[in-house]
Point group: C2
Chain length 354, copies 2
């Protein structure tokens, strides 16, 4: 099996399990209120159509560690996907996003509901409140999916313990990201730390590790998976930031240049500032992180990224890290098929959407 | 020991355990960033000085079920207190609160920080984002406290499973509350449902049950604790809503009348609307839930509550429920001392701050 098939197969199986999970939850919630079932509908809708890479990697980690109980690991992996929606729902508030996966965000949904029902008072605040609450709901749905997955209490305990630490780190990473957009000065260290906390560990090494833990993996395997996942994850984020500036809007499905307006802490802006001449530096200072930039100004920032070779620096760093990640696969498994899968994963993560 | 001493003793012991917990977490967070340690400081500060009734009730539930390992249950009970701060941090955003326990809310803290550091862009949105993120952090700190409490994995599993359901209900209760403020029409059922989900189960029967579960309590005891806790909890909330309108601002430490401005779904407004004549009903419709009311208008709402005997109805209901709660104590324990404690708890919950 190749990695694409692996991801697609997982996605459709996870969707079926999610449908079962939410249909049970909605039966319970009906006894409470239609407000509760509506929240579950909205949450389920939010989960639909996502790439579900984290859940898939949890299954992969489980298999790499010799786990054989597919049904259990599929159920447990819903934990990561439901948690991911919780974080996205809150992130989209923080980013003032209007769309997620091509659909209005929950905040926009509740704004429209509030208008339609002609609610008195601050309608936007109503929507904000419901959105925070909806996100919070997800945490406990996710925990339930994990707890009810059927694994032994020992394994679940170890998984839960590890998950707590991963999510603490994501939350810290998010804070560094929020602060980063407000700061003029940050080093390479700061940017790579956000990449590690918010992307690499959360999206790649964490899921692999959690799956492996549920299969009772020894420490050495966990640390090798972490090594592979962190390198690949950081490479992925650097690449993602590159595409966020230089990518094709249609292929990406998101606005190219929004990172520039948001003032996102990326290797690109960091390196550009380091290598810029006085005029370029002044221009970056005046534009980067300003929400109302013209297309011309965004293009000019892009040109400076090219002139300072910040683009090249980023891509080279991503390529180097991907190579290192691939090298570390040998330590994870001797099984040829599984090695190929991990190599394909590395290529897939880096080449996608280019 | 009387219930007050029980609560006070718990509070100071919990504070010591919290200090240890946060001091360990801050050591880890130092490696990440001062932004992370600042979040932990803020979170710890938020926990300081609260009544910590939920943690205390968890300990009480544990003891009622025969649990003897005080250190473990104290550690585990931090879970409820840290979770409570998570909910309060998010609630205060939803309520646009400025103060919590006499101190500025985290949102205000980050607004001030943002002003002081002269952050570019939308400073209020920065503060909102950090506050949502800070609340999210609490969930995983709380989980860690529970997981590391030293109880067997079996017991922790049962506790976690029950906690997930309690928190799902709180989140649904919060949603009903948010919607309630926007709705003109709701029945007694709706109000009591919010009381049950948001207060009674969350603050009283849930904590008692979680503690009892950690002591391996049989189902019958759990269901008796739930019975007692739900009745007492609903009584408490009805009383709390009464004090929110008729109480003494200084004793309560919060603005009396804010429920009227927020349009909170309470038994008071429900009964008042049912019993009101046309003129009174029109007045309530024009004022209840409007944020800019004069003192005169608030006083007039109060008078209507009295004239329609909504106040009397509420107090009688609270008294009746408290009596029923007390009656159910017999089923919980035959131990005289423990029975007295549960009776005192009922009196304490209802008489406080009057």
């Amino acid at each position: 099996m190749d990695i694409k098939t692996f991801l697609i197969e997982y996605g459709s199986q996870a969707d079926r399990f999610l449908d079962d999970f939410f249909s049970d939850k909605k039966k319970e919630a009906k006894k409470i209120s239609s407000i509760a079932t509506q929240m579950l509908d909205l949450y389920q809708e939010h989960l639909r159509g996502g790439k579900k890479a984290r859940g898939a990697l949890m299954v992969l980690g489980y298999q790499l560690a010799g786990g054989k109980e597919r049904k259990k690991i599929l159920k447990a992996s819903l934990f990561l996907e439901i948690m991911h929606s919780f974080l996205l729902i809150h992130d989209d508030v923080m980013d003032k996003a209007l769309l997620r996966r091509g659909k209005p965000t929950p905040e926009i949904f509740y704004q429209k509901l509030s208008q339609k029902k002609n609610f008195s008072g601050d309608q936007k605040h109503f929507a904000l409140s419901m959105t925070i609450d909806l996100g919070d709901l997800g945490v406990f749905l996710a925990q339930e999916a994990l707890v009810e997955s059927g694994f032994s209490k020992d394994r679940l305990f170890d998984c839960q313990r590890e998950a707590n630490l991963i999510y603490q780190k994501v939350v810290f990473g998010q804070a560094l990201d929020i602060f980063g957009e407000k700061q003029d000065q940050f080093g390479e260290d700061y940017v790579l730390k956000i990449h590690r906390l918010k992307t690499a560990d959360y999206s790649i090494s964490g899921p692999l590790r959690l799956g492996a833990i549920l299969a009772g993996a020894p420490k050495e395997l966990l640390s090798n998976l972490t090594d592979y996942g962190l390198k690949l994850g950081i490479a992925f984020q650097i690449q993602d930031d590159y595409l966020g500036v230089f990518g094709d809007e249609k292929t990406l499905g998101k606005e190219v240049g929004s990172d520039i307006k948001e003032g996102k802490a990326t290797l690109l802006i960091l390196k550009a500032k380091q290598k810029a001449d006085q005029k370029q530096r002044d221009f970056l200072r005046q534009t980067y992180g300003k929400s109302h930039l013209s297309q011309r100004e965004i293009d000019q920032v892009r040109i400076i990224f090219r002139e300072t070779k910040a683009d090249q620096f980023s891509l080279e760093k991503a390529t180097k890290l991907t190579k290192e990640a691939k090298k570390s696969i040998n330590k994870i498994t001797r099984n040829k098929q599984k090695r190929v899968l991990l190599e394909q994963l590395a290529d897939y993560m880096i080449k996608r959407n280019k």
